[in-house]
């Protein structure tokens, strides 16, 4: 890879140590292995220096220095990304934001939460729920930072009813690549004041600016929730029922599909039995509401819809213990699949809801065509699928060749159905060629142009998302 940047030297290290307290400026050689990669396998790079930032002012000073000296900067949260977004491809400065993890203000009149980017998603949920509020986005990785969630516009399971991270970001404080600190959006509910720069930052994967503060929108906490675990004789009949469920009067917060083989893997991984594993395919539906009566009505109608569509039964999970037994397994699917193979890569496509069944069945056919194991589970309700391609015992070169062919087939199929490359994990480094192929020329030029306006010297998280 060409290195169009200044070679980082001792002078740079010392200069940065004048800007940020020395103990938080760690030379590359002393940086732990964990900082050299994210959860995507196969790509690692050691930064020249790791800076554990604690304020927007520090980040501003670092960015100004980096801009003046042509040093690449890569922001990083908890490193739970799946597309290499936080890997410092050219070395340079790795900016760790996980220490900026203070919750600054809960505004119970404007229903907003102001916080720093390093707060973990699970801590956000816990904090607001203790105060009777609700932050709806619910990605599976609860140890991710909110900054990471904003950078990828993370979705999660409640998207069916509540939408994604972007729908809950009201305002952002951002350090631009030139080091200026700016605020986009605010606590306002409506905003038609020019281009929405806030929305450009959300989902930009740290390529346009560094989020140093966020104002999130909250809802009142729904007091009651219930999950339904619905067994079906096969995956097709399960997924084909989803549109009817969503059309019915009550919108579930989540509609997930899961197959027996993935449940078995999770059972083995957790050494704990799932409440039922006798059927080949399941839908998992969740309903929430203000009263018991409200969700009772909602789930009865959905349960009848499922039975009419050929469900074998509808199991009701209505207590904390029961929800725990289901959702702990659901939460472990990714790790369980990972543990069942030597290496894997993932396709996080999103297709229009109508085509979910067709797409999943298509992916199954690829298993035989390429003699490779594929596993999938995902958000049947919003069309976002997670398809994992497992290496198992394939030799290195064959693995990469097969992987690329399978990816191409999956993305081409998604494209033909009106789908997109990534539903919630982002593009990062790994999915850039597939994004480029899926974009028309004008859209690609606009994206490159936006990057150039924000970051003319291409020093902020270079070679991510857009290909130059």
């Amino acid at each position: 890879m060409p290195a169009p940047y200044k070679t980082f030297d001792t002078a740079d290290l010392n200069n940065l140590r004048a800007l940020v307290p020395e103990e938080r400026v760690i030379p590359g050689a002393e940086v732990g292995e964990d900082y050299c990669h994210d959860e995507l396998s196969g790509i690692r790079k050691r930064p020249d220096v790791l800076i554990k930032a604690m304020s927007a002012e520090e980040i501003s000073a670092v960015m100004k220095y980096a801009a003046a000296h042509n040093i690449p900067v890569t922001p990083r949260g908890q490193g739970t990304g799946l597309v290499g977004g936080a890997v410092p491809l050219y070395g340079g400065i790795l900016l760790d934001l996980s220490g900026m993890n203070r919750i600054l203000e809960l505004d119970d009149i404007n229903l907003t939460l102001t916080l720093e980017p390093g707060v973990l998603l699970m801590d956000v949920a816990k904090y607001v729920e203790e105060h009777g509020f609700f932050y709806p986005p619910d990605p599976g990785e609860k140890t991710a930072t909110i900054g990471g969630n904003i950078s990828t516009n993370a979705g999660g399971m409640r998207a069916v009813k509540y939408g994604v991270t972007r729908d809950y970001v009201r305002g952002l404080e951002v350090v631009l690549p030139n080091g200026e600190i700016v605020e986009f959006g605010g606590k306002v509910v409506k905003n038609s004041s020019g281009y929405s720069l806030k929305d450009l930052i959300v989902g930009s994967e740290g390529t346009l600016g560094i989020v140093t503060k966020a104002v999130l929108r909250l809802l009142p906490l729904p007091k009651h929730k219930i999950s339904l675990l619905v067994p079906f004789p096969d995956l097709t009949s399960a997924i084909r029922t989803v549109p009817a469920i969503i059309r019915s009067s009550s919108i579930p917060t989540a509609v997930e599909f899961m197959e027996r083989e993935v449940i078995l893997a999770a059972e083995q991984f957790l050494a704990r039995k799932f409440p039922d594993n006798s059927s080949d395919a399941y839908l998992l539906l969740t309903f929430d509401g203000a009263s018991k009566e409200e969700i009772e009505l909602a789930y009865h109608s959905a349960a009848h819809t499922c039975l009419n569509a050929g469900a074998l039964d509808v199991f009701i999970s209505n207590t904390q213990e029961r929800n725990e037994s289901i959702w702990s397994a659901r939460g472990a699917f990714l790790e369980a699949i990972k543990a069942s193979t030597t290496e894997m890569d993932e396709c996080d496509v999103v297709v229009p809801r109508k085509h979910v069944a067709e797409f999943v069945l298509f992916s199954k056919e690829l298993q035989e065509k390429y003699r490779i194991r594929l596993r999938s589970f995902g958000h049947a309700g919003d069309g976002n699928l997670h398809i994992y391609i497992l290496r198992d015992e394939l030799p290195e070169t064959e693995w990469h060749a097969t992987l690329e062919q399978v990816f191409r087939e999956l993305y081409a199929k998604a494209d033909s159905l009106g789908g997109k490359v990534s539903g919630e994990h982002g593009i990062g480094y790994a999915k850039r060629p597939y994004l480029r192929e899926s974009l028309d020329e004008q859209s690609a030029l606009l994206m490159a142009g936006i990057k150039k306006v924000f970051d003319p010297d291409n020093i902020l998280n270079p070679s991510k998302v857009v290909v130059k």
């Binding site: 339904l228 675990l229 059972e267 083995q268 050494a271 704990r272 039995k273 799932f274 409440p275 039922d276 018991k292 349960a303 039975l307 039964d313 509808v314 199991f315 009701i316 999970s317 209505n318 207590t319 904390q320 213990e321 029961r322 037994s325």
Partner: protein, 266 residues
């Protein structure tokens, strides 16, 4: 085989307030659910029903609203439900509760096997199972963590003791209290909910018991005097270990193993 499973309706959340004056749980407005430990006893019974065939009756002592936990047991596959409900049962301690259950189970026709959960989440005494067996004059085993074999005459089980696991064979009629996690409890079924919506539930009152002396029931039959009830203090103790990753991993492994977190998937 006829199996009785004892179940109890408990507050739906762990955050229950206690009236500081009377020391009584504030149940008004608090949602209720089936005692989570009882689900393991129920699941054990349902497994027997599937493997060797059995008729399962759930028995609970409580107000008529306890019907909801009986209905939930029906939704899991239980055949019959009995509520022991009488104002004169109110205020029972563990002894009076066990005595009432013993009388009630006998009045309901008796059985070959009684299954109970380890304890309840509201009383937390873990005494009712054993006392019930004593009143009925049948043998019992507590802390059952595994079922090895079920035959027409007896049952072979493992019981989880602090330092070892003991295997025992026990003849019917007998009582077992099972540990959390013996089986993963099944979820209530919507199909069974529809199918059992009209199934009658038997109500037994003091006058239906063989012993009709009110002095043996409720507050009158309870030698326990509650001096004070108070919520436990929250313990936030924690240890911080330092060392090399290898040593820490080894230490963590040993700790988890010692505390039996690393059991084989049953």
């Amino acid at each position: 085989m006829k199996i009785v499973v004892c179940i109890k309706q408990v507050p739906g959340t762990a955050q229950v307030e206690i009236d500081p004056e009377t020391g009584v749980l504030k149940r008004d407005g608090v949602e209720s659910k089936m005692n989570p430990y009882d689900l393991y006893a129920l699941e054990t019974a349902l497994r027997f029903k599937q493997s060797v065939g059995a008729e399962i009756t759930v028995v609970t002592m409580g107000p008529p609203q306890a019907e909801s936990v009986i209905r939930e047991a029906f939704m899991m596959g239980v055949d019959n439900g009995v509520i022991l409900s009488d104002r004169r049962f109110g205020g029972s301690d563990v002894l009076a509760t066990s005595y009432t259950l013993a009388q009630g189970i006998a009045a309901a026709g008796g059985c070959d096997l009684i299954l109970c959960g380890k304890q309840t989440t509201d009383g937390d005494t873990a005494q009712v199972g054993a006392e019930l067996a004593e009143f009925l004059g049948i043998p019992h085993v507590t802390s059952v963590c595994k079922i090895r074999e079920v035959t027409e005459k007896d049952i072979t089980i493992d019981l989880d003791l602090p330092l070892h696991v003991e295997t025992a064979k026990i003849k019917y009629p007998c009582l077992l209290t099972v540990e959390k996690g013996i089986f993963e409890p099944r979820l209530p079924s919507f199909k069974l909910k529809l199918a059992t919506a009209d199934r009658p539930i038997r109500m037994l009152k003091l006058d239906d018991m063989k012993d009709k002396d009110p002095a043996h029931y409720g507050l009158n039959g309870s030698p326990t005097q509650v001096k004070r009830i108070f919520p436990p203090e929250n313990r936030n103790e924690h240890e911080i270990w330092k060392g090399s990753p290898d040593d820490l991993a080894e230490r963590l492994f040993r700790q988890l193993d010692d505390q039996k977190f690393l059991q084989q998937l049953r």
